[in-house]
């Protein structure tokens, strides 16, 4: 890990849970914290911003220890879930707020506001008031305002959760583009793992106040370190391991594989590499997804999700999964 970037050890206790999170992200990275509701994601952001007090621990940003620095000196900007645009100010005044604080001259301010509005694709919106904006527009103004404070770290607290699906997709790409253009270290909280997978350089999975795994998106997807992370990110199939004890040893725990790792034996010739076979799996439902079919099947009572290029003709199919694609988790339950 480089010395620059964000490194934190956060210990704080509350009525609902105790937070014991430790992670680091590199300078310029776009990192996503994901996890189920109540796992402490937003609390983590608020601790890093300084809005909540730390019981114990430290926060280091770009080599500076921020642990006892007050909020307004940390140079950490935050975009809140409800955007928190100041209602009595216009868009331009909102974005100019941090510039005014830093005594930037009026002409400079106007230029910078126009620059930022163009960055977030909202040219010409200077005079509008926040109640004239749509959700997506408010979010972009909030982002522009955060950027205008020239932060060392940008925190985004579920910025897209209040928007509809199509807008979410579009805006997350915008966020990624803006991040790439500005190069600011960004920490992004979401409960939508698809969102995280699509734009994050690094994914941090949290549960009950602890960091379960932190790594590149591909890492977390293909090499989850626990059943929780495996099932939280993407789809997967979980079956008890003892079903596949092939004389080697008694296996406890579960076996896990991704749907795309299961091959449907319709047109593909039999599998040669070491594999598990699921014969006579009953097809319960079949969804057409445009480029492929997503099948919900049941094998010996266990549900298995897989993909197929063709619609299966009969009610039952045969599946194989290569052994090298399997993950074993000792402590999981089906």
């Amino acid at each position: 890990m480089h010395n620059s970037g964000l490194a934190c050890t956060l210990n704080a206790s509350y009525d609902e849970f105790t937070l014991n999170a430790e992670f680091a992200i590199e300078e310029g990275e776009l990192a996503c914290i994901i996890g189920p509701s109540g796992c402490g994601k937003s609390t983590t952001l608020q601790l890093i911003a300084g809005l909540l007090p730390l019981t114990e621990g430290s926060i280091t940003l770009h080599g500076n220890d921020l642990t006892s620095v007050p909020v307004h000196h940390r140079q950490i900007a935050m975009v809140f879930q409800e955007y928190a645009l100041f209602p009595h100010m216009s868009v331009a005044e909102n974005i100019a707020y941090p510039l005014k604080l830093r005594h930037v001259k009026k002409s400079e301010r106007t230029k910078r506001v126009a620059q930022l509005l163009s960055l977030v694709s909202l040219e010409g919106y200077e005079k509008r008031k926040s109640d004239e904006l749509s959700g997506g527009e408010k979010q972009r103004v909030a982002l522009a305002r955060a950027l205008s404070s020239d932060p060392q770290l940008l925190l985004l607290d579920e910025p897209l959760s209040a928007l509809d699906a199509k807008l979410r997709k579009h805006l997350r790409e915008e966020i990624r583009r803006i991040h790439d253009e500005t190069g600011i270290t960004t920490l992004y909280v979401t409960h939508d793992q698809e969102e995280a997978l699509s734009i994050a350089d690094r994914i941090i999975v949290m549960r009950d106040g602890t960091v379960m795994q932190s790594g590149k998106a591909e890492e977390v997807y293909h090499a989850p370190n626990s059943l929780f992370v495996a099932t939280f990110i993407g789809d997967g199939n979980t079956l008890p391991a003892h079903l596949f004890a092939d004389g080697e040893e008694e296996r406890s725990g579960v076996v896990f594989f991704r749907p795309e790792e299961a091959t449907v034996q319709i047109t593909v010739p039999g599998e040669h590499l070491p594999h598990l076979a699921f014969n006579e799996a009953t097809v319960e439902s079949c969804e057409f997804q445009g480029g492929r079919y997503r099948l919900h099947t049941r094998w010996q009572g266990y549900p298995i999700i897989c993909y197929s290029e063709r619609r299966p003709k009969g009610k039952s199919i045969n599946l194989t999964v290569r052994k090298k694609d399997l993950l074993y988790f000792e402590d999981g339950n089906v």
């Binding site: 509350y14 609390t43 608020q46 911003a49 300084g50 809005l51 909540l52 007090p53 909020v71 307004h72 000196h73 940390r74 140079q75 950490i76 900007a77 935050m78 809140f80 409800e82 928190a84 100041f86 209602p87 009595h88 707020y97 941090p98 604080l101 830093r102 305002r145 955060a146 404070s149 925190l155």
Partner: protein
């Protein structure tokens, strides 16, 4: 919420409460303690319970206590009857005058008690408009209605002043009730009246109890009405006796002892009222109900509606309009503006009218000072309360504390202080400003607290992360959002100060001249027209408050 912990660490929000706390401690608690301590010091100057014992073993005092409680009870009952009739009409029928009645019912909330007194005398007096009209219509030689300066007058005035409170609170509550229960009752064959008494009334009980406890409190601490309309030792209440003992008999020990009793009762009533309000907000009326179309009134209904509208108009508007009319017209002089000319010193004025202009100017200046100070202190206190985790309740209680003490007792404290200090005019007026400030502060707090609550924490948080100090964030982001609430609160405080009579009279020496005081003196010297001229100005101020704020929760107090 967890983030309050961080905000509490920010000293800024804690410091915001300081000015208000200083004012409340120095200018409310200290005078109060000085007052109450006189109850424990006997003639010789040593600590004893003698003053208390001698006061409360006096049968004269017993009579006064009985009278105070009984007149309050009867007034509350009378107000209840009149109000419930209105609440029945409003909640059962829809008719044309509904809006009018509801609007009128908010008027007494903004009228100072001295104006009520004046209006009553002008309208219901022996030579008043009502008697004159009745004598003309029925060709009588004697005024048929002689009620002034009697028990009846007190009850009537209290009813006028207070029934709208009950009606307003109960009708508003009733309008949010789910009407399906009444509909079911009708379909089961019950008449409208039977439904009202067996279905609606029980459900309205919490609101009725709450409003009644408030009205009982007002009637118990009533001062100006008793002082003028009661007319004598037979009809004296606790507050009037406190004033009498302190100012006329020089017996501060007795006044202090009586104050203990008064404070005990008013505190109990306020606690009861607060509890009932809390229960109300949890009850059914505040969930989203299905309200049905109201039945249009049949003949009986229409007659009742018209009757009730007339009664409301009579009670509420007639006295006010009489004051305005009397200020420019009387049967002996015809239409004349002479009283206004005297008021504005445009012509030479007799006796008290000569000080009218000074009184007006003083009242305006005092009210201005009070409203500015009250809003500044009150807003700071409200913000500090809302952004705390610990000690919110204690701070809010402290802010509201002066409501538990009647204005007469507050005035008494200032009187005791001023009589020990070598006073000059500016000291006296400073004391008046402080007394009004202490009285107005809870009302400002009551307006600002819910308004401040509406501001999301994330605004301040945003501003902090963007680099603003907590203080700068408060002034640049939160305060601008409170602008209209602050104006409302300032108008309230202004009106409270303009109409304040009880405390001002109790603490005043002959040098203090304010509008209500001069009105009182004019009434006392039978210069009713002059008093009406001044009264009309007060009505104008009240009208501004009424229009600007538009609802209940006004400046209403004894």
């Amino acid at each position: 919420m967890r983030s309050r912990a961080e905000m509490e660490r920010s000293g800024f929000y804690q410091r915001l409460a300081l000015p208000a706390l200083v004012v409340i401690t120095l200018f409310f608690l200290v005078p109060l303690l000085i007052t109450l301590s006189s109850a424990f010091i006997d003639e010789g100057g040593s600590l004893s319970l003698a003053p208390i014992i001698s006061v409360f073993s006096n049968p004269y005092i017993h009579r006064i206590m009985r009278f105070t409680l009984i007149q309050a009870a009867i007034s509350t009952l009378a107000s209840l009857v009149v109000a419930l009739a209105g609440a029945y009409l409003l909640s059962t029928y829809s008719f044309r005058f509904k809006r009018l009645i509801l609007a009128l019912s908010a008027v007494p909330f903004v009228i100072p008690s001295i104006l009520v007194v004046l209006g009553f005398v002008i309208f219901f007096g022996n030579n008043g408009f009502l008697n004159t009209a009745l004598m003309n219509i029925f060709s009588l030689s004697e005024p048929p209605i002689r009620i002034l300066y009697s028990y009846k007058a007190i009850i009537l005035a209290h009813t006028f002043y207070n029934f709208p409170i009950i009606m307003n609170l109960v009708a508003t509550y009733a309008m949010h009730l789910d009407r399906r229960l009444e509909a079911v009752s009708y379909t089961l064959g019950a008449s409208k009246a039977k439904t009202f008494f067996s279905v609606t009334l029980p459900r309205l009980l919490p609101a009725i109890i709450s409003a009644s406890s408030l009205v009982f409190l007002f009637c118990f601490s009533s001062f100006a009405i008793i002082l003028v309309l009661g007319g004598g030792p037979r009809y004296t209440t606790m507050e009037v006796e406190i004033y009498r003992q302190a100012r006329m008999m020089g017996n501060t020990g007795a006044a202090a002892a009586l104050s203990l009793f008064s404070i005990a009762v008013t505190s109990l009533l306020l606690v009861a009222y607060n509890r009932s309000q809390r229960r109300l907000s949890k009850s059914e009326a505040y969930r989203e109900p299905l309200s049905l179309e109201k039945r249009p009134a049949g003949l009986v209904g229409r007659v009742l509606a018209v009757l009730y509208t007339i009664i409301t108009l009579l009670f509420v508007l007639a006295p006010i309009i009489s004051v305005i009319v009397r200020s420019v017209y009387s049967s002996s002089t015809g239409f004349t503006l002479k009283w206004y000319r005297q008021l504005l010193n445009l012509e030479r004025a007799t006796s008290h009218m000569g000080s009218a202009l000074t009184a007006l100017t003083n009242s305006l200046l005092i009210a201005l000072a009070v409203s500015l100070l009250a809003v500044i202190l009150g807003t700071g206190l409200a913000a500090s309360i809302e952004r705390r985790k610990r000690s919110r309740g204690a701070l809010e209680l402290l802010g509201m504390l002066s409501m538990t003490v009647s204005s007469v007792i507050i005035g008494l404290g200032y009187f005791l202080i001023s009589s020990r200090l070598r006073g000059n005019a500016s000291l006296s007026y400073t004391l008046v400003v402080l007394a009004h400030l202490v009285i107005a502060l809870p009302f400002v707090l009551r307006v600002m607290l819910p308004e401040y609550r509406k501001i999301p924490l994330s605004y301040a948080h945003s501003a902090w992360t963007l680099g603003s100090t907590p203080g700068h964030a408060f002034f640049s982001v939160e305060l601008p959002l409170l602008k209209s609430a602050m104006v409302s609160a300032a108008i309230f405080a202004f009106a409270i100060s303009m109409g304040e009579f009880n405390a001002t009279l109790t603490l005043s020496s002959s040098t203090i001249i304010t509008l209500p005081i001069v009105m009182y003196r004019l009434i006392g010297s039978y210069n009713y027209q002059g008093a009406c001229a001044l009264g009309t100005i007060l009505i104008a101020v009240s009208a501004v408050v009424f229009i600007a704020t538009g609802t209940a929760k006004g400046t209403h107090h004894a």
